[in-house]
Amino acid sequence: MNRRNFLKTTALAALAATSARWNLAMAAGTGSILTLAHPTSFPDLDPATSFSNDGAVLANVYEGLARYIPATETAPAKIEPLLATSWDISEDGKTWTFHLRDGVKFHDGSPLTSEAVKGSIERTRKIGGGASFIWGSVTAIETPEPLKVVFTLSEPQPLDLVASAGFAAWIYAPSSFGKDNAWFNAGNDAGTGPFRISRYQPGQRAVLDRVEGYWGKVPEGAFQTVSFEVVEDATLAQNMIESGQADWTYSLPYENLEALKSNPNLDVVVNPSFETLFGLYNVKRAPLDKVKVRQALSLAFPYDDVIAAGTSGFATRAKGVVPAGIWGHDADAPVPKTDLEAAKALLAEEGIEPGLELVMTYSTSQSLEAVAGELWKANLETLGITLTLQPMAWEAQWQLAKSSPEAAQNIFVMFWWPTFVTPYDYLFNLFHSEEKPNFNLGYYSNADVDAKIEEAAKLSGTDRARAEKLFIEAQRKIIEDAAAVFMVDQPNVHVIRKDVKGYTDNPAYGHVTFVNELSR
């Protein structure tokens, strides 16, 4: 220890001469720079097609009509006005009128108008990429007044939730409607948000500078510049946050979080996320076409061990597919507990002999999926079932699953997060009958569940309480059918420097930091 410190000190002293000058110069400036270390790059900065981690950048450059604020212990969830100050819904839930905020300017200086809103959503829909399908039920957009937009829907839909989505719901300046994807990805922007992109190095960083005359409130000591650094390596990210080179990061190994918690300079912010991990059983391929076999597998899943070993106890047990924090979450869902004896009995009932072989596919890049698989495999081994773990590139895994029920895997493990905050997003995509499945990769089909999901969807704009009840009923049916094994709700763990004030995590916008609200 002494020796190491000695070496360190001498080495530092030797370098002091060269580096002292500019370190000093930098120290003066860093106060107004916020550095966010992101583990993945920002593939698409086009507000129409962005559908990935790029949302973290865009959410500081663009704004939607509204923003979802999740429930806290003291307050229920709400949808906060943003570019719209208020909105009205017609009786039948098919006509939505949004009143726009006055005095908002785009970064190019043009004012926010109903035409801009209409044009943005139309461009987004016309390109048809990313999450543009969220506007699928909109049949017409009218602009009766400069600050008033009227949406007509084909069927009732919670358009307030759609309008506050983290993807495809951004409003951008009319001057950019004619621009193509490449223009945006060259680092240009056309938003109303507090920051604009000043420099973009794909795969490395995006640097944003504060825009003069932002309409919203700017706290004292707010940041002038924010740098989104792409740091794929968790070791490096951890090193940066510990040394103060980064102010915020996530996706560090759970095992290292205890040590970070005790670091006086850091806050470890743990929050439920809207991401949930589950395995879809292929119900069209024997022997998982039998409910009892599926139930047995779910009983053999080591729920607590996965939380302990895979997430160091940070995650929580999944209660069905809709995670905690989203309306429609079923806190009392009758999910199974690990019980190998019961599993054995069920298998015996169906006459399953030892020697059964099953294939589980998961995405190469997801280490938690691998841990879950390895632990599950060990449990199944005691039941005489061999589980082959098949890590694949996501596209390949998906491709195999879609090919045909006979050729596909037995168990498809994946994470799901909602495009916008509604249980419909989980239930419809994953469990609603599909002719040619896109994400219903277990080929699950149940008319009763389909009906409940469809009806709940229609009600979610107008009668959210009833919709929620229907969604929960559908989920219970799915659990009863053991269509999937619900593993864990992934926690959001963000590590942030203590001197950064005003941080809250909003799981509706995955890993987005609203920098305008922060200060040092």
């Binding site: 968790a234 095992e255 302990a308 070993a309 841990v371 390895e374 632990l375 060990a378 890590p391």
Partner: protein, 279 residues
């Protein structure tokens, strides 16, 4: 024993001993691993990431498995990996080289230009490309490396054959009307095979290193099978605080590759020495 030392020198003998030791470890893995089940992949969650101790000599991994047992089981994968890579490469390279060298002319030209294309790729990149195309897995990663490896054997074999082809007994056989396959099998193959096999045996070390690099990139064997390269990668996110996870398998790779390298040097020196003495 003393003769062995005399022939290989002390470093060579030590290296040979290490290689033999690891082969033994691979064969006897289930009997000598302190925790055979963990070596084979069974998690042991309660003890996860424990530092080296009396119970776990080299510590445990993120699922609480004994690193020593994992390394012992990984020996099987790594050595088989290395051996299969050279075996596959020989299987492709030897016939190609034999044919090119024996028949000469356009056959030689066509086969050798073909191998040139493979040699034009930087080897690891081609292996990565192949592994990416084939997907991860034990056999796939071996094929991926073998694809980059065989042209060397083709060249070696060709060079050996070119020397042999001019030998009087081969000429005689040819004049006597012995068929080509027969000449190749009877006269050429045995004489070419021996130097090539020695070379191949020594290449197990480098092959193992390449395979480790692939599995470090996540293109090797599938979990939960233990593999050294993959262990180093898995442990990297806990490095350096839980150094043992990465360092132990990393050191193991280093020691084995070093042993092969030193042994190879010793054998080469011996061959050169023999040539000097006879000259």
């Amino acid at each position: 024993m003393t003769r062995l030392v005399q022939r290989l020198g002390w470093p060579g003998t030590l290296a040979l001993a290490i290689v033999v030791l690891f082969v033994a470890v691979a064969l006897l893995a289930p009997w000598i691993a302190p925790y055979p089940a963990q070596g084979a992949g069974t998690p042991n969650v309660l003890a996860k990431l424990s530092p080296p101790s009396a119970g776990y000599w080299l510590g445990t991994d993120h699922l609480g498995r004994d690193i020593l047992s994992r390394i012992i089981y990984g020996t099987r994968v790594s050595l088989t990996n290395g051996m299969l890579i050279v075996a596959f490469s020989l299987l492709i390279g030897l016939p190609v080289g034999l044919a090119a060298g024996y028949f000469g002319g356009w056959v030689d030209e066509a086969l050798m230009r073909g191998t040139d294309i493979f040699l034009a790729f930087p080897a690891l990149l081609l292996a990565v490309l192949m592994a990416a195309a084939l997907g991860p897995g034990f056999l796939n990663s071996i094929i991926a490396v073998a694809v980059t490896w065989w042209p060397w054997y083709a060249r070696l074999a060709r060079a050996e054959v070119l020397v042999l082809r001019g030998q009087p007994y081969v000429e005689a056989a040819r004049l006597a009307g012995v068929s080509h396959p027969r000449i190749i099998l009877r006269h050429i193959l045995p004489a070419t095979g021996r130097p090539l096999t020695v070379q191949a045996a020594l290449d197990v070390g480098p092959a193992l290193l390449t395979a480790a690099a692939l599995s470090f990139l996540g293109l090797g064997v599938l979990p939960p099978t233990a593999d050294w390269g993959q262990m180093v990668d898995a442990g990297r996110k806990f490095f350096p605080d839980r150094w043992w996870y990465s360092a132990m398998p990393g050191l193991t790779i280093f020691i084995v590759a070093l042993a092969f390298s030193v042994l190879g040097d010793a054998l080469r020196d011996r061959r050169q020495g023999a040539r000097h003495a006879s000259a």
